[in-house]
């Protein structure tokens, strides 16, 4: 009988950590040997015990996940690192992978994907979320530090973004035009171009897009 994969959990949400621990311990192949909510304490833990895989959240107090990963690598611990986070921000993933993480799983993922990811990185192989792997591998390999493929700050021109912000807030084209001292026609052009660039056909999709990229103002109380 082969031995279980020893896991350390690092996530600052205690109740979720507890659930995750149970989830993993419930599987015959895994055993959680340590857990912590704090980046610095991860390093302390590694002094005390050995484990095969570290499942780490990028956002933790004291020492962020990224920093922690770098430190682990620079100290030469042989532990495999699997990043578990809710951001699917490509920037973060790339940074984490470059820093020495072997794999990346979103919190949105289901349990089975987590299990597979743990096993994969435990074998020393990379694991990337299927959704991101294509893009990521490309951008990791080509080493182009450009932002995510549909990021508004790379895809849309400044003026277009400006117009977008007004439009999605319910301003009509003419109103937007007035706000920005542009002809309605110009606003129209921007809108058309944005739709083309983003491959959209409905105004509501533009709103979705703006929502996705936080282009709407924060809730004002």
């Amino acid at each position: 009988m082969k031995s279980k994969i020893k896991i350390i959990l690092a996530d600052d949400h205690a109740v979720l950590r507890a659930g995750l621990k149970l989830l993993l311990n419930n599987e015959p192949d895994f055993i959680v040997v340590g857990e912590t909510s704090d980046g610095e304490k991860v390093l302390a833990l590694l002094e005390e015990l050995t484990a095969d895989v570290l499942i780490i959240d990028l956002s933790m107090p004291n020492m962020g996940g990224l920093e922690c990963i770098k430190e682990i690598k620079s100290r030469g611990y042989p532990i495999k690192i699997l990043v578990l986070t809710m951001y699917e921000d490509e920037q973060y993933i790339k940074e984490a992978m470059r820093s020495g993480a072997l794999g990346y799983v979103e919190k949105h993922a289901v349990d089975t994907e987590l299990f597979i990811a743990v096993k994969t990185v435990n074998m020393g192989q990379r694991y990337l979320n299927p959704h991101n792997s294509q893009l990521l591998l490309n951008s990791l390999l080509t080493n182009t530090p450009k932002e995510s493929a549909d990021d508004p700050y790379t895809l849309l021109s400044p003026r277009e973004r400006e117009v977008l912000k007004y439009m999605v807030r319910g301003y009509s084209m003419s109103q937007t035009g007035k706000m920005l001292c542009l002809s309605v026609k110009t606003v129209d052009t921007y809108k058309t171009r944005m739709m083309e660039k983003l491959g959209l056909t409905e105004k509501s999709q533009l709103v979705d897009y703006a929502l996705k990229y936080d282009l709407l103002p924060a809730k004002s109380e």
Copy 2:
């Protein structure tokens, strides 16, 4: 032997949900009878099954937690609502409590606190994170004894809110009409009535209003 407390889980992070489910099911007093990652599906679930407590995350796709809570209340489901979130933003907590949540637990909390919270709200009593309870109780009691005068759930009719949601998401009147199987004219009437009720003159003000009251869907990653 008294029956277990039936729980529905609503959190968009599947792997965490799985852990949480195991954590709760592991306790003799609880049983998770349903789970979902989506605000709208919470409502669908409530149609299908009955449960005692809904544990809900505030940030979910399609329909944010706040909106979802309000809708549950407006539909009159007797389920007790416990908010589980990582934000310790007082504003959010207040809003959630005002909207009808009975309790609030941070994801940072340990499992035992979660258990206590579930039991507390199940009895119909409020549960507030010890850290926040002081502040909150105060501001809940002093600052807002009344439903805020322009709350959409007191001012607007259900159908009006429905229409509003589509309109502010960039759907045209005709599109909204199609979505809701209404004549454009009917949609028009609702819009006009809402504007009158709220004393607004511009569509953009409607969007602001929706933004203020979380009537837009949460950012979908």
